[in-house]
Amino acid sequence: MAAYAELIPVNVITGFLGSGKTTLLQRLLRSPRMARTAVLINEFGEVGLDHLLVRQVDESMVLLQSGCICCTIRDDLNAALRDLLGKRQRKEIPQFDRVVIETTGLADPAPILYTLFAEPVLRHHFRLGNVITTVDAVNAERHVTRNVEGVKQVAVADHLVLTKTDIADAAAAEQARRILARVNPSARKFDACTDAIDAHTLLRSDPYDPATKSAAVQGWFQEESLRDGNDSADTHDHHMPHHASRHDRQISSFSLTFDGALDWTAFGIWLTMLLNRHGENVLRIKGILNVTGIDTPIVINGVQHLVHPPVHLDSWPSQDRRSHIVFITRGMDQERLRRSLAAFNQLSTEAVAA
């Protein structure tokens, strides 16, 4: 199997109906750097995509026996990616070194990610790249707070692109920014109307590219709300109406910090056990770990039940040598998570001699 960094990265562009996914895709595809990119879309909408390698997939799923929606192989996606791979190898289509998938507005992103991780053929050829979620500033509150898919799309994102800020009134746009900061504080945020949206930053810069991994990981911990490890939920948000069915209210983001080194084996045992029982509620986990016996940090990155292979950084991004783990969860208790991981970690002290 090729090294993880050498697999073909697959970026996912998701976002609610009308949030500007296709417009963003069009903008990205204008870049000459995107020439060797294959694009999979769910529907050919009114906005035409004038790109050499655009293919359509029909949404169909195979639910695995575990019954968890996030552990679902997207049959359509599996077939489309295998087809692309076959044609590429037979040289029937131009060579591509990246795939971008645009989802439907109502898609739950988790099965798409699971398909890439779990499907036996795909996982030897592709790896997950950045997940980009577009959020429409005019309708952000309705889309993110009233829909399970909407809040999940925001939670799993590596990058969030706020769109239509030019037509939204100032209060709505500000409200949208607050929602994004609360649900996913560690994602990098862009304004489609004012920020330069370039393909390199949005798609290529990720923790698995040797050239960009250090900067990408450093970005995770730059948000003010995560520096002190406090729960960022409900901060700066005194004006939002309370509503019993608000899905974003159930989401909380927090960072756990550990002073001492963590035992890698104990950490793996703990995280696999946690994700087995609570994977549906661990929407996102990202961390930089100080691991016993290793001088440089190890980066972990997961979405629900799925965890990327760990990555070594060549050096620490700052003077801080502590382990930091960012969680985006649905209704999980920060202190209990901390206590549980600490209890598992101390099991390693005697086991080392075994």
Binding site: M1, S66, P120, R123, D263, W264, T265, A266, G268, I269, W270, L271, T272, M273, L274, L275, N276, R277, H278, V291, G293, I294, D295, I298, V307, H308, P309, P310, V311, H312, M332, D333, R336, L337, R339, S340, A343, F344, Q346, L347, S348, A351, V352, A354
Partner: protein, 103 residues
């Protein structure tokens, strides 16, 4: 696939990654596996289950009545353990955490 016994092995799991990734880590793969079994057994003891390494390629999970199951990696352990124990195994269970802190 193992040439002797014909058992399919799963691909590398991320929990096996550390020693593979880092040349400066001196621990051998065998030491890693024994270390993993030792720690896991401290957790499984709470549920009356036990894990043993099998030929350095898989693990055997067993309960006190002798029922056992072969698993490929630690991620596959937990669903198997829940099935064998017929209950959910929750790392956030206060009673488990108390027991581990006393261990």
């Amino acid at each position: 696939m193992c040439g002797l016994c014909g058992i399919f092995q799963g691909g590398d799991h991320w929990t096996d990654g550390s020693a593979l990734l880092s040349p400066e880590v001196k621990r051998t793969r065998r030491h890693d596996r024994l270390h993993r079994v030792a720690i896991t057994n401290k957790v499984l003891k709470f549920y009356g289950l036990k894990l043993t390494d099998w030929n350095g390629s898989s693990y055997i999970l067993s309960n006190q009545t002798g029922q056992s199951q072969i698993i490929d990696n630690i991620a596959a352990l937990w669903p198997a353990a829940e099935a064998l124990r017929k209950r959910s195994l929750d790392p956030l269970d206060d009673k488990l955490i108390d027991a581990l802190e006393r261990a």
